[in-house]
């Protein structure tokens, strides 16, 4: 019994004694980690927690913050009509851009996955718009969609269609932003992820389907889509998060107009934070929205059990 205890103590002591080499290795490890750790705690977690505190205060940056409890949260639901406007615009944008974007990328990836001549060139061409920064893309499209003499409207007039005024029209401004966003994103990283997913589907499944007499559509429906569902899910989650954070396009092209038509939630937060200097209220808006995004992501995660199929799992 005694000898067992003595042996255990010896083992514990040996474990406690860390060699200088191990210490050096640990120090080096933490040194390499340091930039990320400093960035995470100093530039992300710190400000995020500070903004959580400020969301319960009246704070204009220039005066000391004043604790008002849930006042900002009450205000957003009861006294800020632009809160609902901006929320509605953002959800509309998301509802329009996400299905079109994800479906479009997937279709494009399926087409570009066919082993046809020149596929590599097509892949490059489709990917190129995603390399254009959104701000530049928006400025470019403002020219193309000019109501009076833009090339798009001239073409529409030529074929006898009365063109819309695009960004100048309250009803068309938001769809115009969706269109610009899709132009840049359909052939971008999302399509590349879909391509990777497609190339991970085992060939023998298609062969088996072909032997069973499945045509192209059936192969896509019963093989491609189920096996691609984890990729679809991944892209869907990212696309929804990205769409809900829409800001740049509206900030550059329309400044939220005309008549609040593109007043997104992100823009609403920005305005309150950096233009109106209601930093406390802006923090509350941001936290509310973070909760919405997290909630939607969890919901998608839960719903994914019903439609996402993990092959071999």
């Amino acid at each position: 019994m005694d000898s067992t205890i003595t042996a255990q103590i010896a083992i514990t002591r040996a474990k406690r004694r860390i060699s200088p080499a191990v210490i050096r290795e640990n120090v080096n490890g933490y040194l390499f980690l340091a930039p990320w750790l400093i960035g995470f705690f100093g530039l992300f977690l710190g400000p995020a927690l500070a903004s959580l505190y400020f969301s319960f205060t009246q704070y204009d940056v220039l005066s000391p913050s004043k604790w008002i409890g849930v006042g900002n949260y009450v205000k957003m639901f009861t006294a800020d009509n632009l809160f609902y406007t901006s929320l509605a615009r953002t959800l509309y944008f998301t509802g329009l851009s996400v299905p079109l974007g994800v479906f479009g990328s997937m279709v494009l990836a399926i087409l570009l996955n066919m082993k046809l001549k020149g596929t590599v060139i097509y892949r490059t061409l489709f990917f190129m718009p995603s390399l254009v920064p959104l701000v530049s893309a928006v400025v470019l499209w403002l020219w193309l969609l000019n109501p009076d003499w833009g090339i798009v409207n001239n073409a529409l007039r030529y074929i006898g269609i009365k063109p819309p005024a695009w960004f100048a029209d309250r009803n068309w401004a938001l769809p115009s932003l969706v269109m610009v966003g899709l132009w840049g994103s359909i052939g971008g990283t999302r399509m590349i992820i879909f391509l990777a997913g497609l190339q991970g589907i085992p060939e023998e499944l298609y062969d088996a389907a072909a032997i069973d007499g499945a045509n192209t559509w059936n192969r896509i429906r019963h093989v491609t889509i189920p096996l691609l569902s984890p990729t679809i899910f991944f892209n869907l989650v990212l696309a929804i998060i990205g769409a809900l954070q829409a800001f740049q396009g509206a900030f550059v092209a329309t400044e939220g107009g005309p008549a609040y038509a593109t007043w997104f939630f992100g823009l609403h937060i920005y305005k309150h934070a950096f233009d109106y200097w209601n930093m406390g209220y802006a923090s509350a808006l941001a936290w509310f929205f973070a909760v919405v995004i997290i909630g939607l992501t969890i919901l998608q995660q839960r719903l994914s059990t019903k439609w996402v199929f993990y092959y071999g799992a």
Binding site: V139, W143, A168, D169, R170, A259, F274, Y276
Partner: protein, 491 residues
């Protein structure tokens, strides 16, 4: 071969190096001091001689000597002033800014002014300044412009100081600037700054005379006579508008969205957008204000004689469109008129002139003076130095250079106008408006940015020709939204 360096040698070398650096830095200051001191001795001696000999043969000579003495005394006093101030600004204005720094250094040889450029975008720069203020790092000389609605917030938040005491101590003559531009910096019974840039705002229609010639208007009357009537203006807008089907070759008119534009529309016939106290919207119940708004509504929404937002092209301003012959006239002010004139590339397509708005029944000129101001930071260690510096920035030479070399429009001093008119004759039309224009009414709660956004967004809805809303409904909604901002607790 290896040479070993002893500790003593190293210290010696260090001391020599430090001494050398110090010696290298010091002489400049000494030299400047000497230059200032020498003339003082010289002139003082002269004065003594004159008094001793009592040979005042000619009064003129005596006056000259006395004047020189005063100048030198002032220079000597200035040389005694020591300190360092920081000048925060948001736009590089070379070579004007360097000239101001150099010439101030000559006046105050022992004062150091550090120039810090912010970001060129003015609104983004204010965001940066507020953050700097929160961090305790904002400079001594600042520029919170009234026309960008940051002045009142800066005053309320104790960022800038009232300068009445400095003005009194310096015995500054405030009449050297146009009264209205000085008045822009008056708030709560105090003066908070001196004028920087400024122009007579939204007081005219910038006109392409070639378009009017085409419809038979051979010569426009002298703008300074305020002789053009509203009926004539409307007739010219209608006649000069050229369209075939959906395609518009030339728009007859463009309106000015935004706070200043809407304010002046309401002022055209004697109304106001909000009350002078900045607490209530008044336009919705005032027929005089509604008359102006309805006139624009009819032109824009009913008759579609103005371009939809962005229809002129991305980055194509009214100035460019007017200069290219695609727009007959648009609502703006002296700055835009000059810019449009500069934008003309083909004289057969455009010749720019202005129509000043007809005077109102009460004799006032429908307008809203636009301008900025230089201010002194509330906690400046050297407020008088900072004040002297802002005075130097907006002195006659400073103001002139700000226009000619800095590329700004600073029509804030009557004494620079003749010199500017010699270069740009267009400015002469605005002399009366500069002296007698109407000032801005700002929200009492200092929520100027929310206020301008509410006007711009709801104004765009009111004047939306694509999805029109009835005039009365648009006015009602716009008034309600602006009032909400005015009812918000102070910023």
């Amino acid at each position: 071969m290896e040479t070993r360096l002893s500790r003593r040698t190293l210290l010696k070398a260090g001391a020599l190096l430090a001494g050398g650096v110090l010696a290298g830095c010091a002489p400049k200051v000494v030299e400047v001091t000497k230059i200032v001191e020498k003339p003082v001795e010289k002139i003082v001696e002269k004065t003594v001689v004159v008094e001793k000999e009592k040979v005042v043969k000619e009064t003129v000579v005596q006056e000259k000597v006395v004047k020189e003495t005063v100048v030198v005394d002032a220079a000597a006093k200035r040389a005694e002033v020591k300190g360092k101030i920081v000048w925060d600004t948001f736009r590089a204005n070379p070579p004007w800014d360097k000239d101001r720094l150099d010439s101030f250094k000559q006046l105050y040889p022992n004062v150091e002014v550090e120039l810090r450029m912010g970001v060129a975008d003015q609104q983004a720069n204010y965001a940066k300044w507020y953050a700097m203020e929160a961090a305790g790092d904002l400079g001594d000389v600042l520029q919170f412009d009234p026309s960008h609605f940051h002045f009142w917030r800066a005053a309320d938040k104790n960022i800038i100081m009232p300068i009445d005491d400095l003005v009194a101590a310096d015995n500054t003559d405030l009449t050297q600037w146009y009264e209205q531009f000085v008045n822009m910096s008056r708030y709560k019974g105090k003066l908070w700054g001196l004028p920087s840039w400024g122009w007579s705002g939204f007081d005219c229609l910038v006109v392409n005379e070639v378009a009017l010639n085409e419809i038979g208007v051979k010569e426009l009357p002298d703008p300074q006579q305020y002789a053009v009537t509203w009926d004539q203006i409307l007739e010219w807008i209608h006649k000069s508008h050229k369209a075939s089907g959906d395609k518009v070759e030339r728009y007859g008119f463009n309106w000015a969205g935004g706070e200043a534009g809407f304010t002046v529309m309401c002022r055209w016939f004697g109304g106001e957008l909000i009350n002078p106290e900045g607490t209530k919207t008044v336009f919705q119940d005032d027929e005089k204000a509604l008359k102006g708004l309805r006139m624009v509504y009819d032109l824009v929404v009913k008759e579609k004689l103005a371009p939809a937002p962005g229809a002129l092209g991305q980055g194509v301003s009214n100035e460019i469109a007017c200069a290219e012959g695609r727009l007959t006239m648009y609502h703006c002010g002296s700055l835009c008129a000059v810019n449009a004139q500069k934008a003309v590339k083909d004289n057969t397509k455009a010749k720019i002139t202005v129509i000043l708005f007809p005077k109102r029944e009460d004799g006032k000129i429908p307008s809203q003076i636009r301008g900025g101001a230089w201010q002194v930071h509330k906690t400046s260690k050297y407020p008088m130095i900072a004040y002297q510096f802002i005075k130097h920035l907006t002195s006659k030479e400073g103001c002139l250079g700000f226009n000619l070399f800095g590329g700004n429009t600073a029509l804030v001093r009557p004494d620079v106008l003749p010199l500017l008119i010699a270069q740009i004759p267009m400015y002469k039309h605005f002399l009366n408006n500069l002296a007698n224009g109407m000032v801005i009414h700002a929200p009492a709660n200092s929520r100027g940015r929310e206020y301008t956004d509410a006007i711009a967004q709801n104004g765009a809805k009111l004047m939306d020709a694509i999805k029109p809303v009835p005039f009365e409904q648009g006015v009602k909604e716009m008034a309600a939204e602006i009032q909400k901002v005015l009812d918000t607790p102070p910023a």
